[in-house]
């Protein structure tokens, strides 16, 4: 059983990191980052089998690809807290000469990042390629990926979803962050996505749901279940329901904080709702 108290402490600290990072540079994407905090904390600290250190090839360890790269704050915070690079470096987010670019890149050599993402809809194809490389290498570890729900409006996803279902890429676990929000408003209004799980299913995927993606125990249990579904001939899709802006009351139930940073006063309010646990960077 995971020590959920420790992980829950990490969730609070990662939320603080996210809020402080975007506040400092008055830009970035706190909403989706906060919504996926439990997912990242669980994935990197409980679910994935990882080697010490970082090398690009990542042989004999699980891999993760973030397709919706704009939620870089949560990715950076969790990578730093997992030891990929110094936690202090979070203070350079979006600043000039930083390895922590606005969207994740490999260009500056930040450990933990294996592909640039941010131009949406490309991550699943990359994850499939990495999964196929693992098969060729006789490497039985898994490839995880995360995608925004709005991001599924990009057509390349459906090329990739069709490929993975058709070609039995069963070492891939792709999670869709179903927060129902995108920049211009609710996904239901911008471009209704319908039954995402059913769409994956008819493309040949094994589909499961995490009912509350902001419940740490549910996320861990869901990801562990997904691992048991892998290796059986079908790629695995997790539809994970989350709340954009989770953990900060005024950022929830709206798309307003998709790409907007809090001001000083708002930061103070938000941090008060998320006490420091492991020490701020």
């Amino acid at each position: 059983m995971p020590n959920t108290k420790e992980l829950q402490d990490l969730v609070f600290q990662v939320r603080r990191d996210i809020l402080r990072m975007v506040h400092k540079v008055n830009s970035g994407h706190p909403g989706g980052s906060l919504g996926c905090t439990e997912f990242f904390v669980a994935l990197y600290n409980e679910v994935m089998e990882l080697k010490d250190g970082f090398d690009m090839d990542g042989r004999d360890e699980d891999l993760f690809f973030l397709s919706n790269g704009h939620i870089s704050p949560v990715f950076y915070s969790v990578l730093a807290r997992r030891g990929y690079f110094p936690v202090e470096e979070l203070s350079t987010f979006r600043l000039i000469n930083s390895r922590l670019q606005g969207h994740p890149t490999t260009h500056e050599g930040l450990p933990g990042i294996r592909i640039a993402s941010g131009s949406l809809g490309q991550g699943m194809s990359v994850a499939i390629g990495a999964a196929e490389a693992k098969k060729l290498n006789g490497d039985n570890k898994l490839v995880f990926s995360l995608h925004g729900d709005g991001e599924l409006q990009e057509g390349q996803n459906w090329e990739a979803i069709m490929y993975a279902g058709s070609k039995n890429v069963d070492n891939l676990i792709a999670t869709v962050d179903r927060n129902g929000q995108q920049i211009d408003g609710p996904t239901s209004e911008v471009m209704a996505l319908g039954d995402i799980g059913e769409k994956f299913r008819v493309f040949g995927w094994e589909v499961m749901e995490i009912e509350d993606g902001n419940n740490l125990e549910q996320v861990i249990a869901g990801l562990q279940k997904a691992k048991t579904l892998s290796g059986k001939g079908k790629p695995v899709c997790i539809v994970m329901n989350t709340m954009m802006g989770n953990g900060v009351d005024f950022m929830m139930h709206t798309h307003a904080w998709h790409g907007k940073a809090p001001n000083d006063e708002q930061l103070e309010t938000a941090l008060a709702q998320n006490p420091e646990t492991l020490g701020d960077y």
């Binding site: 592909i115 640039a116 060729l136 290498n137 057509g155 390349q156 090329e159 490929y163």
Partner: protein, 317 residues
């Protein structure tokens, strides 16, 4: 001038196929992807001999480029193949973000470049691909001239670490460079020394440049012909050295004159040695249906066009 013999007309795409066959036998990390154009890319033998290292992605080029980027993670050397139009312009952002910016060791290998694919018409005739690809930081751009050179280039790029765009074509053209030559990326090849004018040609127009040079020699004009198989990185040293001697230059390529070899040469000369230059290239237009020969004639891409360009540039010396 140095004489070259056509060893028998062949298509450059078959040179690519022959190179892939050899790579399949010699480099276990090489994998190939194709978007429903196996026959056109001449990779049947690679697939037959290495079925586990081939990925048929269907008519889905964006996914093919992304998968290629992913396959490098784990040490594979992916060769992503399609027609030049669908392997570049159609998937520009995928190449930009997932391959070039991410610094992935992907080889984008494209057949049916230029107008000489012929009858299919302008929907399939890309004349902008060299420009698109050379503008991407870190991308190497190669446009070999014949079967033998395309085979050699294919083998060479597997050894090169970093993204490469390899461009070749459909028509059967003269095969005149040495069998089993060693291909050196970025190293221009002197084909024939001369003193009056430098002709810098790439791809299918290299052979046309040699014909033009021979015709001009009969008129008492001495042409230096250089094969610029690598457009990026450009062999500036070889170009400057030649132009210092001749004092004028003609560039020749099966591409739009915006963004192609000619512009790369013009930039180099503008910075280092301003020189009169004429461009044998498509004048900012789309192509159309026709036979390759008809199209080369109509769009000013054959030896006659090169000859005229030389006469024009000599007047500007």
């Amino acid at each position: 001038m140095t004489k070259y013999t056509d060893q028998g007309k062949q298509d450059t795409r078959s040179g690519f196929g022959a190179g892939m066959t050899e790579l399949g036998r010699t480099n276990p990390n090489v994998v190939t992807l194709c978007a429903d154009l196996i026959g056109s890319l001449k990779i049947d033998t690679f697939i037959k001999e290495n079925p586990e290292r081939f990925f048929q992605v269907g008519i889905a080029e964006a996914n093919m480029i992304g998968m290629s980027a992913g396959l490098t993670i784990g040490g594979k050397i992916p060769f992503a193949t399609s027609f030049a139009n669908f392997a570049t312009g159609r998937v520009y952002d995928q190449i930009r973000q997932s391959v070039a910016y991410s610094g992935k060791n992907v080889k984008i290998c494209a057949s049916h470049a230029g107008v000489t694919l012929g009858e299919d018409g302008a929907t399939h005739q890309i004349l902008e691909d060299i420009g698109l690809m050379k503008m991407l930081p870190g991308m190497t751009v190669i446009n070999p001239c014949d079967f033998n050179q395309t085979k050699a280039a294919t083998i060479a790029i597997a050894e090169h670490q970093g993204p490469v765009y390899l461009r070749f074509g459909r028509p059967k053209v003269a095969n005149f460079t040495p069998v089993d030559q060693k291909f050196e990326i970025g190293k221009a090849l002197m084909l024939s020394e001369g003193t009056d004018v430098t002709i810098l040609a790439t791809g299918h127009l290299v052979w046309e440049a040699l014909i033009a040079a021979e015709n001009l020699e009969n008129q008492g004009i001495s042409c230096e012909v250089i094969n610029i198989h690598t457009i990026k990185p450009l062999d500036e040293e070889a170009i400057i050295k030649s132009v210092k001697k001749t004092g004028c230059v003609v560039t020749a390529e099966e591409h739009n004159y915006l963004g192609g070899l000619g512009e790369s040469v013009a930039r180099t000369l503008a910075m280092q040695l301003p020189t009169p230059q004429e461009f044998v290239a498509v004048k900012d237009s789309f192509g159309e249906s026709g036979t390759p020969e008809q199209l080369m004639e109509k769009y000013g891409l054959n030896n006659k066009a090169i000859e005229q360009a030389v006469l024009n540039v000599l007047k500007r010396k």
